[in-house]
Subunit: 417 residues, 2 copies
């Protein structure tokens, strides 16, 4: 048995204990984890320092370096996040349905943990504590496989969590980390169907694709967001301007940021100059269709869009723009190029709004609001493990409920069929 | 573009229409399908005759031949099944949750179709109409890929359904059948992620395994059932006898039939001879552990079980038996050998019942009832597309709801984040 398989066995055994742990037990363990993270802050920062030194030697970019870096404040924020998860309602044990059949069988559909969850993620070491806390609260054991850049930080944080679990009377194997960050090991993890119930990749399009191609473990795809804002013929141009500015620039690196702006031909002459002027405040580069270029003739920072641009999740200060003839054409464009994450229509027209929300096949469809709201916290669901862009099991922000499944419990008195 | 890809494109386009079809439109199409099946009964029987002739030439077994055979009664039953699906409640459009956030955003979680569903199944041609009806009612386009034995019947039934759809004003591509039944084509179907939202295999363990290994399309696993009945120390022996007899023999070829009997050592002396005598009525072969053999010494048809027997879904008149020391050991055995389908405990003991239902990690867990009740009809859910043995999305009997997903619709008035 390999180290990885052994980890699977241990996680499965831990999950069998955790499945029946009470909410009080799980909360006590989370509180203990939070206090241990704070107590061991210096150790975490020392481990993180190793990662930072190595990253600098590799000539890592500033954005990535910032994501990798932990400070005292960030460790405290991490601990606070764990305490907040403890405060969330425990989903396990909810009787979602319950009824008695004509033959007297009492059937209950009860919410239970998934079992063992594996999470493959990239640079940010705070995901280690966040993800583990959400899995624990929902009664699941978790196998973490973070990026190699953060490996020292991740190992340190995981060891602290395992010690805390043990001292709180739960199996330390409720949380484990894969120390070997090679791609081969990740691939083997994706095929450990015997031990892992669900695999959640958190990261860029490349990671998501690799996981869906290779995994035999059921996957929940997260996070690739090629989101659209469509400005209808009757849109309030000021509202449209504020929404596009917010959706594009408030945090361009995240999956719910807007990547393509579609504008009805009747709004384009007024809307485009106003919006592009506003976006100039953040130096947003515009890649437009021919009609866009014509309207914005002479405006600097505007170039012609390629077909590829409309498929691209820029994750930065770039916006693709296209003028369309109708709301129907906007929907067709989104169906063709979108990733099924979040789309918004800005309109005053009842029929346009209805058509847009009923025909768009995405996780979240907005009327007159920014796509940036697709987020567990903004929806009021508390912390989230990611945003699902697939249709099976979970769609949109995934909170604790999405880390559970159901089982049927049937009470009889000798019934046979 | 290959024929198969073209089929994917057409199905995706049909799904976009079907997504917004009203319940009345869908029901009218189903009624039309039902009447067309009856009108074209002779054509169906003629096509089926070709399949039967070919099957006989290949020396197919009687059980399989029976499953393949259609009669006038069976075609009428098929049509009746379609009408029954029309009578079921349309799941699409249900607002499962709806709330207003502090910033005024009105968020609704609305049930919507999955999109395009592919179903890979084996011999029985009536699955063609059943599965298509359930997919249509839930607003999904379906690509069917049945077994080669039933290909003539399946093509004929599908053509009738497509014509009926068209005459009812819906796209004929809402239902399609893959005419090339080669394994290569099936494998390509499993990787058509761009066009297919969900793949549901219906068949034996070999098919399910092939699909989960090869598919990049999200899969819902169905149907492999290595189900257990455990007779506790305090069980009512008469009740236990009736339940085991029912669970094993009422229909041994189905996934919710009992395959292994576990008996507490304190019940074994009394229970085993009584149960085995009853099972003799159906000539059930017993494969027991050493303790079982000792208790049943001299009883004919009893042989020693191998380790493999406990892993096996016999789907016939064979029962593996093991004497265990405690309910805990019964649970451990089921965790080790079970497939997570359905398990039953027969007991008078409150603590044993509680322990069993909370620690068993299967789709359905019974106290004092037969495992044979794990069925959409028996649960009161109407027709079912299969019984999910996985934990993501659906677990247990899958009805119309399980053929849907959700999307969030958010109504704002200019909110930005």
């Amino acid at each position: 048995m390999t180290t990885l398989e052994l980890m699977g066995v241990m996680a499965k055994n831990a999950a069998a204990v955790l499945r029946n742990a009470s909410t009080n037990q799980k909360n006590a363990a989370l509180e203990k984890i939070a206090s241990s993270l704070i107590e061991n802050c210096d150790k975490i920062l020392a481990a993180n320092e190793k990662d930072i030194t190595a990253a600098k030697e590799q000539g890592i970019g500033t954005a990535l370096l910032d994501r990798l870096t932990l400070t005292k404040e960030r460790v405290h924020a991490m601990a606070k996040g764990v305490v907040e998860v403890a405060a969330l309602k425990d989903p396990v044990g909810e009787v979602a349905e319950g009824f008695t059949r004509p033959n007297g069988l009492k059937i209950q559909k009860v919410r239970v943990p998934l079992g063992v969850i594996a999470i493959i993620y990239e640079a940010r070491p705070n995901v280690t504590a966040d993800a583990a806390a959400l899995c624990l609260k929902s009664g699941n054991a978790v196998i973490l496989r973070g990026g190699k850049e953060a490996i020292n930080s991740n190992i340190c944080i995981t060891k602290i969590m395992r010690d805390a679990l043990e001292s709180a009377g739960l199996p330390r194997d409720c949380v484990a980390i894969v120390e070997d960050t090679s791609r081969e090991t990740a691939n083997r993890l994706m095929r450990m169907k015997e031990y892992i119930d669900v695999l959640i990749p958190r990261g860029g399009a490349g990671l998501i694709k690799a996981v869906t191609e290779n995994s035999t473990v059921p996957v929940i795809e997260t996070g690739v967001g090629n989101c659209h804002v469509y400005i209808d013929a009757t849109a309030d141009i000021d509202m449209a301007k504020e929404i596009v500015f917010n959706a594009k620039t408030s945090r361009p690196s995240v999956c719910n940021a807007c990547e393509t702006l579609l504008v009805h031909k009747d709004s384009a002459e007024k809307a485009l100059p106003a919006i592009v002027a506003k976006l100039k405040e953040k130096n947003v580069e515009i890649r437009g269709c021919k009609r866009t270029l014509e309207i914005l003739k002479g405006v600097p920072g505007v170039t012609e869009a390629t077909e590829e641009d409309y498929y691209t999740e820029f994750l930065g200060y770039i916006l693709a723009v296209k003028v369309v003839d109708s709301v129907k054409d906007a929907v067709l464009h989104i169906s063709q190029y979108g990733s099924g994450h979040s789309e918004a229509i800005i309109t005053k027209d009842y029929n346009s709004a209805n058509y847009f929300v009923s025909t768009i096949d995405s996780a979240a469809v907005y009327v007159n609001a920014s796509t940036r709201f697709t987020d567990g916290g903004e929806f009021g669901y508390g912390a989230e493990i990611g945003i699902s862009t697939q249709k099976l099991h979970a769609r949109g922000p995934m909170g604790l409920n999405e880390l559970t499944t159901f089982k049927y419990i049937i009470y009889g008195s000798g019934q046979v069929r």
